[in-house]
Amino acid sequence: MRRVYVNEEWCLGCHLCEYYCAFAATNGTDMARALRDTKINARIKIEENDQISFAVSCRHCTEPYCVKGCLTGALTIADGIILIDREKCIGCYTCILSCPYGAISPSEDGAVQKCELCARTAGEAPMCVKGCPNEAIVFEERG
């Protein structure tokens, strides 16, 4: 299955991926209109210090702790992609605590949010990958 992989050597810490992620969630057509005067809460996040930066998003594990731990069955696996049903989520944050990558985060409306590889918003490569200027994140099959 194709996943988002990180080439941290080339990450500039520009945070564009976060903005493209947030933009993808709005289903908008113009980023300026969609994101102006908002504070974004992206599902991909840059970890950085002075030396290094890299993007972290859901790894879409084959045996995901989050799915195992979810009390309500809000997290499911479909074609290898781990999806969140925001209607079913009760905001208990069990998944947030169990994800070893810190890839799940709270959202404004109580339900958790996570990367779904843009499965619901677009085709092809996820928006973060398309928006990265330096191929620091790539969408590919790596066995």
């Binding site: 050597e9 080339w10 903005y19 200027p133 191929e135």
Partner: protein
């Protein structure tokens, strides 16, 4: 505080209707122009630091930015341009020599733009490059003077060492140090993929790049940085740099802050020490001296590699080239006054040297007149911007061209001409790790390959139009050129007729 005489030359124009305060511009500008104001959730900027490199413009995800000329103007004066006034104020403030980078940007004639190409009509058929084979391969090196046979009358076909190129373009000398590791890797990988050559410049060759040796020209310059036996033998050819178009007659100076880590190791000089290349080679004061170096290098490389001698295009260029053609060199490279540099005194860059078109035409003619044109191949650089320039240079007599600026532009260079500041926002002319990583060679080499592939298509198209199916038959074929807007003397030097003649 002293009065600041200088008003910023550029302004950052931000469209606040489109700005989403993502701070990408702030993070990407090494000149610290942009700043985020958390209280207002708004961006602001200090235009005075902007060098107009367009990094922020290119990366802003909402196209909220552009850089515009600041409207501030001095009283109009045809004699004192804004640039002249600003430079004078700068010098009165600092007492220093003005420094610049990249090629001469001043308004001198560009002869390539005054030359037009021919095409076939009616009486001679043009060729469709999509249907017919079209040859752009060239060989660089000394050509045999006569037909030689052995005792049995069989033809002797051994010829001096040559470079074989898939098209008549090479990446010109840019040292590791003046440009980044990633820029070098991009050039090396693109040369390998294309079957052409790149040139180490005078900074030695990083050990990681020895594997691209068969597509590398190694340079020996007046500072002799990074030169040792393995280096000389690692490349496909050796270039002696006598001069550079951007700064003929003067040496080089790579400031100590760029001599870090691998750069210092590769140059074989201590970290932090200034790398100073003397103006002349201290062992070359005549063609005879040059000949000694040519043959020392041939000896060191066992006569397996062609030797290039590179000179700047200056007043007596044809006489100098004639000397070089007799020195045992295989290739002469001529660098015109538009040639780029990582740093040069502004007055030198903008006032010394001559256009490469004129230099090329007169060198080619002189060597032909003297019957020694086949002693050497001619490579020209310093002003080649497109495939049309390549074709015109070949028609004027060049075997091949060097491109430097055009190659860097493929890698992202926006000609802001601030290389000497060492903070290139595109990761090219810098050694700061945070900046060099902006140039991912996986992307860079593809862009170089794209550019050259596009040029090759265009070269074939133009050749086909002229009814020529091999670039060799275009070489020195000045009948394929006509001049416009040129005077008698210019036409005479270029050896072309006026349009309509």
């Amino acid at each position: 505080m002293a009065v600041n005489y200088l008003y910023p030359e550029y302004e950052v124009a931000r469209n606040y209707d489109r700005c989403i305060a993502c701070r990408v511009c702030e993070r990407q500008c090494a000149n610290e122009v942009h700043e985020y104001l958390p209280d207002a959730n708004k961006m602001t900027c200090d235009d005075s630091k902007c060098v107009n490199c367009h990094r922020c413009v290119s990366l802003c995800p909402t196209r909220a930015l552009k850089i515009v000329r600041s409207g501030n103007t001095y009283k109009e004066n045809a004699n004192w341009s804004r640039k002249t006034i600003d430079e004078l104020y700068k010098q009165a403030g600092t007492g220093g020599v003005l420094l610049s980078s990249m090629g001469n940007p001043e308004d001198y004639p560009v002869y390539f733009d005054k030359l037009l190409l021919n095409a076939s009509q009616v009486t001679n058929p043009s060729i469709d490059p999509l249907r017919e084979p079209m040859e752009t391969t060239v060989f660089l090196g000394a050509k045999p003077q006569d037909i030689r046979r052995d005792n049995f009358g069989r033809l002797l076909t051994d010829i001096p060492p040559h470079l074989k190129l898939s098209m008549p373009v090479m990446f010109s000398a840019m040292s590791y140090g003046s440009i980044s590791y990633n820029a070098h890797e991009s050039l090396a990988r693109a040369s390998e993929a294309l079957g052409i050559f790149y040139n180490t410049g005078e900074g030695g060759l990083h050990e990681d790049f020895y594997k691209y040796g068969k597509n590398t020209i190694v340079q020996v310059a007046s500072g002799r940085f990074g030169v040792h036996k393995d280096y000389l033998n690692s490349g496909a050819a050796i270039e002696i740099k006598m001069g550079q178009g951007a700064k003929p007659g003067i040496g080089g100076h790579l400031p100590g802050h760029k001599i870090v880590g691998d750069v210092s190791r590769t140059r074989m000089i201590p970290e932090g020490s200034d790398a100073i290349s003397p103006a002349p080679h201290h062992d070359i004061y005549s063609i005879e001296d040059l000949r000694q170096l040519v043959f020392s290098l041939k000896e060191a490389s066992n006569y397996t590699k062609p030797v290039i001698v590179k000179i700047a295009a200056v007043h007596n260029v044809s006489a100098i080239a004639s000397g070089i053609a007799r020195s045992g060199a295989d290739i002469v490279a001529i660098d015109g006054f538009r040639g780029g540099t990582g740093a040069a005194p502004t007055r030198i860059r903008d006032n010394v040297g001559i256009p490469v078109e004129l230099a090329l035409a007169s060198v080619d003619k002189q060597l032909r007149d003297e019957g020694i044109r086949d002693n050497v191949s001619i490579v020209v650089g310093g002003g080649i911007r497109s495939s049309a320039d390549v074709i015109k240079a070949v028609a004027l007599g060049a075997d091949c061209v060097y491109i430097g600026t055009a190659a860097l532009m493929a890698l992202g260079c926006h000609l802001c001409r601030s290389c000497h500041g060492g903070k290139c926002n595109w990761g090219i002319a810098t050694q700061v790790p945070k900046l060099t990583k902006r140039l991912n060679p996986n992307i860079g080499f593809k862009r170089l390959v794209n550019l050259m592939t596009a040029w090759q298509h265009e070269i074939k198209e133009m050749m086909g139009g002229m009814g020529i199916n091999s670039i060799e038959s275009l070489k020195g074929n000045r009948l394929m050129l006509r001049g416009v807007g040129l005077n008698e003397k210019e036409l005479e030097i270029l050896g072309v007729k006026y349009a309509g003649e």
